[in-house]
Symmetry: C2
Subunit: 215 residues, 2 copies
DNA sequence: GCGTGTGAACATCTTCACAGCA
DNA sequence: TGCTGTGAAGATGTTCACACGC
């Protein structure tokens, strides 16, 4: 019993949560409805939700409010995680102002940039600090998650600094692969990966290779 | 033989490509090296690459240049896909200027925004057009992929318009679930999903629930 | 010897089909 | 009756271990 909730399920819980958040007005929902909105099968929804416990009512469905609570609890969103965003270019600013970030379970506790012209300005209500203060501030503020939104060249350095400051979870948006010591979890969000996967499917359908005719 | 290359493999190919692009200077590499850099096992790398064909040399390794070419070919990056970015807020601007987008296989052919103040300005070398021209321009320019970077409220409308204009592939960055008719592939990139998954792992390690004691 | 390529074993994820309960 | 919850079957993905060819 290493993982109470399967990995694949964890990845879908945020999706269910988003759907439920968008329909906070209705009292109940069903696996069929959730499935239609999520674009997956009802059986998958039921199985996913069953890992959290038996919170549905047979013949009726799920209570929206309760389900939201249970999913948030399973994801550990009952407490707020403190974020530090490093890099306030377009991407960093977009992240800082992103609805989902502030909405549930996350608060932006600090924002850093290497550019002196940006230091002192405000982003999403937080004053930008110089990267030189990163280690000190991260420790002082008890930052849980570091968000790396700097150019590729600077990403490894920032990651090292965050890890040195004691951050255990890092979300990397820079288009490069960064390494960190054991015990530090890194998730990579590569915007171009998504495009390339889309491109692959287009490629299969349109001007694909000879084999495409078989599919 | 429905899918020549397994789905899970396709998702990792962009990662290999990125790693290879960063070491274009060296002539050869090995599954061990790639695995270390990608943070996965060597066996997985070999299996993934074997789906593309037998491009390695036993006892030696892989030719970096050839491997790059074969991965690009498998992903359909031998031709350029034309993108349209809708929404030029911080996120849209970040996407337009994102290295990976222009680098390989993708070109930004059009950029749209609903704000009259933004129309006419330049983003990443492309003049911003009003959304009213979306259908016409998308058809005229032969846009392959639509990138939705508008607020959540506007996302479904933009998706509908893109689909109506004949776009078959859509990348949605808005924090909401959008639907499209059959035949239109949608990929969702939810920046907060990634955070929530990180939060889940933190939650398991640190102040976990009572059940955590079992794990 | 060395690192790829690959069947076979194993693990995980998804789908099915239906029992169980409101 | 209606919809959840879930074992069992099936599909997909990963790891192992070793044959193969440089």
């Amino acid at each position: 019993m290493k993982t109470p909730v399967p990995r694949a399920t964890v990845q879908r819980l945020p999706l269910y949560l988003q759907i439920l958040d968008e329909r906070g007005d209705q009292a109940r929902t069903s696996s069929d409805e959730l499935a239609a909105l999520a674009g997956i099968t009802a059986a998958k929804v039921r199985k996913d939700l069953s890992y959290l416990g038996s919170y549905g009512t047979r013949g009726v469905g799920y209570d929206v409010e309760q389900l939201r609570f249970e999913i948030r609890r399973a994801l550990g969103l009952t407490r707020d995680w403190r974020l530090a965003i490093v890099g306030v270019g377009n991407l960093g600013s977009a992240l800082a102002n992103y609805d989902g970030f502030q909405a549930g379970g996350f608060c932006i506790a600090a924002v850093f940039d290497a550019d002196p012209a940006k230091v002192g300005t405000e982003v999403a209500g937080v004053t930008v600090s110089p990267v030189g203060r990163l280690v000190r501030d991260v420790r002082r503020l008890g930052i849980d998650i570091g968000v790396v939104a700097v150019p590729a060249e600077a990403a490894q350095g920032v990651t090292d600094t965050l890890a040195a400051a004691g951050v255990r979870s890092i979300l990397n948006f820079a288009p490069t692969v960064v390494r960190a010591p054991d015990g530090v979890e890194i998730r990579r969000v590569d915007l171009s990966t998504e495009l390339q996967v889309l491109g692959y499917h287009l490629h299969l359908v349109t001007g694909g290779p000879p084999e495409a005719a078989i599919a």
